[in-house]
């Protein structure tokens, strides 16, 4: 297990290096002079030169990358061209709100999605199954920004029960995490159902039933246990999806998180912040995927010993 863990951890390094080269190169891909673009139309020549020096655009490209990579390792991500604050400070302040939002959304979505999926699989073909799957396909198709606005309209504007947006108390978490989790719950419900149905048609399940194993045990021990493997992978992938969805939900609910920072940065062409955010998101995806694979290895010894 330890050697597997080490091997996987080492495998993360080249991916992160590749992403850092990509993120570094992305400012170079921009049409025109990035320093001039960032400075804005009414900046003086001296300002542009200062920004160029700030980004070390006046040095050879490998030196620039070297400086950038050193900065990444030491936490020096440059300064935001919009607020002039260090990027690390900007991102640090926004990190926890997004993390909490995604954790709450993920928590309810996983429980609701998997439960619905299993119940649907057990009641396959009956009206409960059909109703759940209609709900699930609607959940996948529902634009989260519209759902957010509808919830605000009902619970904040009309009923006045919950705040329309912002961050602070537990009341602020209810609508955003509900909105963010809907699509994930729907995807997981569909996926869990199909994994469950697939396993349920296997011979060993029929055998278990034939030899008189109680139905509850057939479902829990024989079917669910084996259906869980692909579901765990899917759940991990959905965590990454949530980080994307957070961009929209944070904008709807004026949530002071990474997603809204990303949208603002793109609108203002604040490249140091965009670069840092892409780097951070990539790191998160890589770690999530690693985590999923490790859980997988714990559950399924076949992978561990290969």
């Amino acid at each position: 297990m330890l050697s597997y863990l080490l091997r996987r951890l080492l495998g993360v390094v080249p991916v992160l290096v590749a992403v850092s080269i990509f993120v570094f190169g992305f400012v170079r891909l921009l049409p025109g002079d990035p320093a001039r673009l960032m400075a804005g139309p009414e900046a003086s020549e001296a300002d542009v030169a200062a920004i160029r020096h700030d980004l070390s655009l006046d040095q050879p490209i490998w030196e620039q990358y070297g400086r950038y990579a050193r900065g990444l390792l030491t936490g020096d991500l440059g300064r935001s061209s919009r607020t002039r604050q260090p990027v690390a400070t900007e991102i640090g302040a926004r990190f926890m709100p997004t993390l909490w939002l995604t954790i709450f959304a993920m928590a309810w979505a996983t429980v609701a999605g998997m439960t619905t999926g299993v119940l649907s699989g057990v009641k396959r073909g009956r009206w409960q199954d059909q109703a759940a799957m209609v709900l699930a396909v609607s959940g996948i198709s529902f634009p989260s920004f519209w759902l957010g606005l509808l919830l605000i309209d009902l619970f904040s504007v009309r009923l006045g029960w919950l705040p329309t947006g912002g961050y602070g108390t537990w009341q602020h978490f209810v609508l955003p995490s509900l909105t963010l989790g809907v699509a994930v719950a729907a995807v997981l419900a569909r996926f869990t159902r199909s994994a469950f149905v697939e396993v349920a048609s296997e011979d060993f399940v029929r055998t278990a039933r034939a030899k008189g194993v109680p139905e509850r045990l057939v479902i829990l021990r024989h079917t669910l246990r084996n259906a869980l493997l692909p579901v765990i992978t899917m759940t991990g992938l959905q965590f990454g999806f949530l980080l994307g969805g957070a961009v929209v939900v944070e904008t709807v609910f004026a949530w002071p998180g990474l997603g809204r920072l990303l949208v603002d940065s793109v609108s203002y062409r604040d490249y140091p912040v965009i670069q840092a955010e892409i780097m951070l998101f990539s790191l998160e995806f890589v770690l999530i995927n690693l985590g999923v694979d490790l859980i997988y290895a714990v559950i399924n010894p076949e992978i561990r010993f290969r």
Partner: protein, 288 residues
Amino acid sequence: MSATVADNRISSPVAEFWRRFRRKRVALVAGFIILLIALAAIAAPLVAPYDPSAPDYDNVLADPSALHPFGTDAYGRDILSRVIWGGRISLSVGVISVLVGGAVGIVLGLVSGFFGGWVDSLIMRFCDVLFAFPGLLLAIGVVAVLGPGISNVIWATSVFSVPAFARLVRGDALALKRAVYVQAARSIGVRPVTLMLRHILPGALPGVIVNGSLRLGNNILTAASLSFLGLGAQPPSPEWGAMLADGRSYLGVADWLTLWPGVAIFVTVLAFNLLGDGLRDALSQKLR
């Protein structure tokens, strides 16, 4: 006796597919709705009662009425007309991105599965990396480089449509290149390009069609999200996501501003998802 004759007749794959698909009532209705939306979008100049961008300052934020069934916005523009014209934008983005992403993905998948080896590893690692990123974030990254605007949204959604098609076609190509009929064609000297396009691609089409329908819905949703965030279609464009963004300041005052664009996105995306599900059921041998 006539029954036996009928039973022995080999129906074409298309006829076989239609026989099964015809029984998927939900998917048929979804297909019909898509057809209606597409027709309305194509015939927008004829169907829409007003000019979608013509302001009418005497009728600002008018309630839904016989004159304006969906009401008007803060500039007095007719919401119904804007929703109809918006269908053009959303459907174009969906169709173009799926065609471009699908074409690139199919070629990559065919090459990857057919040749194998380092070409295969290279293409598949590339797809893994693209796949690891959620589509919306990837699209925001592309827009960050190219700048906001609907044409850049099309590029962005095309890019992240590629890996799903590539993986799907690769899987089929891997299986089909060992099929006897492909081996036979190869043995009589059919060129690799012809083998891939004439003999392997048709076998991969069912998966491509199903994925195409689901992708279309997904890409329309992503494009609308980007426009809602202000990174896609720019005002005064009657794009559905952008209309929702405009209407959010009037929440509780003029709810129709957000209601109808929202309904339009939901119904369109739902229809493509239901159609995709129905196609998959009709095309897959295993019946769920």
